[in-house]
């Protein structure tokens, strides 16, 4: 399980995370919602040490990281084995083929034999519906295909959790759909996920738990139904702003 206690992070005098404490149950999907600039990305990135809060404690399975203390590079590398990150802008490696993108981590970080890594990479490509793209370069893919490769790349590392920061925000609606379908499938296979998204119907369908951030503060931390039926005026205002109504 991943959990955090009192994560606090500021950029200058802008408090972006204000004593955030919560837990992310294993084998479940937690969705993080909140207005733009509320600290969702900073929070997610704090879970794999791409961002360093000033204080707070992060528990990653049996690893404990106290952000108030110096963190060794060994601990950083160990922490990043627990999670994998899927980025809004995909961040595939443009100089490597799709297959090589996927085996890069397994071969060079996990030291998996290349043949095994390739075999698994092809299975993962099959799973995300891109078996025929193994030898393509990222520039030859559509956004939806690129993001599905990025998801396969993260799965290849066998992380306990996959962290996804607005994975479909850069995509056209029909491409968004193909990515969301893949995520739903992974969710059904009990892969633990933490997803930041602006897609409310997807959140409703996939989330076992909702976190709602506003100005760096946790405004809601509980079951999905409770969030969408909340009588909290702030949450209702947020939901209204995310839904197009005539």
């Amino acid at each position: 399980m991943i959990s955090v206690e009192n994560l606090t992070k500021s950029f200058g005098d802008n408090v972006v995370l204000d004593h955030i404490s919560t837990a992310f149950p294993a084998e479940e999907t937690t969705v993080i919602l909140g207005p733009s600039g509320s600290g969702k990305s900073t929070f997610l990135r704090s879970l794999n040490l791409l961002e360093r809060p000033e204080s707070g404690v992060l528990h990653l399975e049996d690893l404990t990281i106290d952000y108030a203390q110096p963190i060794s590079s060994k601990t950083t590398l160990a922490a990043r084995q627990v999670t994998e990150m899927v980025f809004q802008s995909f961040n595939l490696f443009p100089h490597l083929t799709v297959l090589k993108n996927i085996i890069e981590g397994p071969v060079h970080v996990l030291k998996t034999p290349k043949a095994d890594a390739e075999k698994e990479a092809r299975e993962l490509l099959q799973q995300v519906g891109l078996a025929d793209k193994a030898d393509s370069y990222p520039a030859q893919l559509s956004g939806g295909q690129a993001q599905r490769v990025a998801i396969a790349r993260s799965l290849a590392m066998h992380p306990r959790y996959i962290l996804l920061d607005e994975p479909t925000s850069a995509l056209d609606p029909e491409l968004e759909l193909e990515v969301l379908k893949v995520l739903l499938k992974i969710h059904d296979e009990n892969q633990s996920m933490i997803i930041v998204t602006h897609n409310m119907s997807f959140a409703k369908q996939v989330a076992n738990k909702i976190l709602f951030l506003e100005h760096g503060k946790m405004r809601y931390d509980g079951p999905t139904a409770g969030f969408f039926n909340s009588d909290d005026a702030r949450i209702q205002a947020f939901l209204a702003s995310m839904t197009f109504t005539l």
């Binding site: 590398l77 980025f87 802008s89 443009p94 100089h95």
Partner: protein
Amino acid sequence: MWKIITEALPQLIVAGLKYTIPIAVISFIIGLALALVVALTRISTKRGAFNILRWIAGFYVWLFRSTPLLVQLFIVYFGLPYLIIPGLAPTGIKLDPYTAGIITFSLNTGAYCAETVRAALLSVPEGQWEAAYAIGMNRSLVLRRIIIPQALRTALPPLSNSFIGLVKDTSLAASITIVEMFEVSQQIAAANYQPLLMYSLVALIYAVFCTVLSWLQKWLENKSSAYLQTTQGGAHS
């Protein structure tokens, strides 16, 4: 006139292939290795001893880019014999002209290439670092597997230009007694009293060398950036 040309041409081409090109190639390889080390030092964010290394790297680049190459050659070949270091070099540092030439050309081209490589390293998007860190790579693996391969492709055109520039700059080696192509042309001109013809001829050979190199550059660029081609055939930016 044809007789003069057909006599001089083989001598010039032999000097070019035996000295000009090898001096340029060896110096460039050493310079490029140096450039990579200097560029990586300058972009490193480590503290402590690295502050001093970064300063030294910056000083080196500044020094070689702000003094003329010809003066650098003179200092290394004619000047260093007068540098007496008790214990290490009690009789001064005397280098044979080829060693002096290659050292100077390497240091000079290394300083220019260091800036090219540094800019190319910095041009790789931040997201590439993050994606590589996220899969658990340490900094040196990120550099080696993800950043440097992309940066070198970006740096290829300016690096090729530096190499072509170096091929022409080796003509300065004539001034420190290296018998490379330009020196040979001077010797022939002194003997046959045809300076216009001889210097035009040697200029033409430099032009041919550089043209061939720029074709090679085009070919390499196309090959190394093939991964940026979309299926439609256009290049992604």
